[in-house]
């Protein structure tokens, strides 16, 4: 599904070159659940952003669903991204001005899905995550765990092939975190959803099928669980 070849990322400030990622090679197959770990500054988030096409590498080759991303134009890349990738963030990143219902609905608007169909899809999603009663609340009226549920529901509503999660449990207490992780595991097992998550927590990483350790921008180790 995904293949990174010799991916590097560095910034130049004057004569100073700051390297973030250095010669990363990574292949992820459909149905995998990969956890990326590493200390602060090791480049995990940058790697995830590159995979998610929110950021571009300085060097290297990036293939997604057999398409050479590094050669695509902005528009094509965006279309590919829109159809296939869902994002979940540590800080949830819900739109504060929108209700739960509207937040979940927003991606459908960008996919030009008709009103009736949108209603049905959002209703399904609310049902599935058991947040029907909260649909008219605004994010600020929800707990962190509930907000993250909405964030995940929003990421899943367009049925992406790949779910990217940047420390999804970072702002949650351990009980809420466990629930989210169980949910990810279930998604991966029962629906075959490909998931890549970045995490600090050893325990959360164990939910995945493969753990990759990054250090100073290079892959230090990779092991299957």
């Amino acid at each position: 599904m995904l293949s990174l070849k010799n991916i590097s990322k560095y910034y130049k400030a004057g004569n100073l070159k700051t390297s973030i990622l250095n010669n990363i090679n990574l292949d992820v197959d459909a149905g995998e659940f990969v956890s990326i770990m590493g200390p602060s500054g090791s480049g995990k988030s940058t790697l995830l952003n590159i995979i998610g096409m929110l950021d571009e590498p300085t060097d290297g080759y990036h293939y997604f669903l057999n398409q050479p991303i590094h050669q695509l134009k902005e528009k094509q890349r965006q279309a590919l991204y829109k159809e296939n990738i869902g994002f979940v963030f540590q800080a949830y990143h819900l739109i504060d001005e929108l209700t739960v219902y509207e937040n979940i609905e927003t991606p459908l608007l960008y996919h030009n899905i008709k009103s009736d169909e949108r209603k049905a899809l959002v209703a399904d999603m609310l049902d599935r995550f058991q947040i029907v009663g909260k649909k008219d609340l605004f994010p600020s009226q929800l707990s962190g765990g509930q907000q993250q549920l909405v964030g995940i529901a929003r990421a899943l509503i367009v049925s992406p092939k790949l779910l990217l999660a940047d420390e999804p449990t970072g702002n949650l207490n351990s009980k809420q975190g466990d629930e989210i992780m169980e949910l990810f595991k279930k998604l991966n097992k029962e629906e075959g959803m490909t998931i890549i998550q970045v995490t600090h927590s050893e325990k959360n990483a164990e939910y995945g099928s493969r753990i990759i350790n990054l250090l100073d921008g290079t892959v230090e180790s990779s092991k299957n669980v």
Partner: protein, 807 residues
Amino acid sequence: MLKNYFKIAWRNIKRHKAYSAINVAGLAIGVAACLLIFVVVQFELSYEKFQPNYKNIYRIVLQQDLGDGISYSEGTPYPITAALRADFPQVKLAALNTAYNSQFTVPANANNFGADNKKFVEEIGVMFMQPQFFDIFKYKWLSGDASVLNAPNMVVVDRSTAKKYFGDWQSATGRVIKMDNQINLKVAGVIEDVPGNSDLPLKVLVSYATLKTHLHEYNADDSWNTVSSNHQVFMLLPANATVSNLNAQLKVFTKKHYGGNDNDHKVHFLQALSDLHYNTRFGNSLGDHITNKATIRTLSLIAVLIILMASINFINLSTAQSVGRSKEVGIRKVLGSSRAQLIKQSLGETTLIVLFALLIAIAIAKLALPFLKNIASVPDDISLFSIGSLLFLLTTTLVIVLISGIYPALVVSGFRPVLALKNKITAASVGGVPLRRVLVVAQFSISQLLIIGTIVAVRQMNYINSADLGFNKEAILVIPGSTDSVSLQKSAPFKAQLLQTPGVKNVTFTADQPSSQNNWTTNFYFDHNTTDKNYQTSLKFGDADYFKTFGLRFKAGHAYTQSDTTNGVVINETFAQKVGVHDYNSIIGKSVKLGNGQWRPIVGVVEDFKTNTMRDAVRPIVLVQNKKQQGIVAVKLSTSNFAGTVASVQKQWEHTYSDYAYSGYFLDQNIAEFYKQENQLALVYKIFAMIAVFISCLGLYGLVSFMVVQRTKEVGVRKVLGASVSSIVYLFSKEFMLLITISFIIATPIAYYMMNSWLQNFVFRIPLSVGVFVLAIVSSMLVAWLTVGYKAVKAALATPVKSLRSE
């Protein structure tokens, strides 16, 4: 999708109430102001355009050189019409002679004049009119047609005059009315009211043939040498003729008909109808005002500047606010929104706010409309909405949405999602601060321009209103009257009677007050010279008490004595100087001859007083008794029991001159009327300067709030390092002081140029001193300080712990 945008837009407006209020208020006030100016400008530019022959109608006007420079007159001599008809048979032309303040007596019933007559005085709109006028100008006839004006003693009235005189227009035809107590006229036709945007207010049209037997009473004279601005000729340009061609023929025509000296220094030429309302070379002897094109341009410029300021505010605040919304933009991008969709959303929000502001603007304009006549000469029933003004609103909306929507939209949609989500978007990264500085400078330049304009205009008007006119204008009641022989005989007993009235100090019978917009001039001979001077002198007629009543001050000699036959004359300083006498005592006893009159000794020299308006230089003047012209009575009153005395004088006047309608006025108010347009312009400056200052303060407040937020952390760090509150306030304010100084440097030369050329309209004017400019910058600084100060102090007083906690 659209619904979603509007929902978000609405929630955003609600969430950021202060920002939205500033945005909407600034824009609404700006648009309302522009809309009102647009209505005025549109009205002023629409004069006479309803005439189907608009483009081909011309007035025959006169250029003359009477020895003291070239002057222009819209008047023509009475015999010109017949001569023109003979020399230009192919041209359609018509003459009219207007009469001011004519009185019409309307019998209460049928056509029997009696004690219960109604009397009306028509200030303007009364004209002796040739029927051919209606071949050139087109009006709707409710009854009768132009041919009724062929016969003498016929009159045509317009609908509202008919209603005023007879109750309704249908019963007007066939009625008889009396003009100025001497001419009986039969109503033979009724025309529809002339629209307000015309300098030809046709109210009472007396057949021109009637004038022939009453020339003298209406300042006309069957002579080529007398030119009265009341007598005007209009013509329709024939299809095959050009203006330059006709002007050349008119030159030949002038040479042929004018005798003597006039031959060389008078020439007639054509003035287009489209020029009539705007050319200040010619007086406005028919309508109620003319408007300088420069005034219209000034108004339009102010409107453009105001709308520019409001848009600048909008851009400033929108981009500032967009930083706060970078997270939302980041999320939307992650959720799959394209850049185009984000631009659409941002434009949608702008549109919503602009539409909202527009509705408020229309409401404000609607509320302010009744007050519009204080700043412009527009009719009371002027409408806010016309195709023009709606188009204007539409265009304005589009332009504002585009200018103030596109820039923030591009900025916002260009955010990189990764940075946006990490809240790393700052003022610097939206490129805002330098641009914002430029915009603030632009705003303050405009405000200061208007502030300087206001100070200059207000000072000049104060100067005019309080200037020493050379006579005392206070507490003088002026009552226009008739110069018919019956009335003149009543003058002396009436004067004696008035002087018995408690509260009356002095009384004089006169033809003209000291300062007026009238000009009665003649050629003259000085000191028994046999050739006349090559310039003319002005005349004012008054009895011996003229000087006492108006408080004129003698430099030498004294007033002439009361007499029915002419004896001495009094001159002013300018007259003496122009004939080359500087020791005023030595001119006493010398003689002048006015026109073809008698030699008369000079008995006194008065200090120069303002003979006309402050726009004009003082003219050489001869004051002389001329009982036949002295129909106006001026009464100097004591200020105690003022109202009572005025009422008593009026009662006595009405009793003495029972055939006439009373139309007394106070001299000081009448003089103030001379400057109606200037006073209006001063008021325009005042109002719009206030609006401009208000809008730029909103902008400044928005900008400083934004900078305070941006620099919270910096302030925190500085405070931890030991900065004092005052040094931090200084940190915020020094930039604005600099920006205001820059805008001052930009505004000053433009304002100087603008106001200097405005002041050139006045012969008597204030100097454009440094003080004006100092006042402008000091007041701008002060206002900016008041605006910025609160926010700056608040930021400086905040505890640093709070601002530094976020990292």
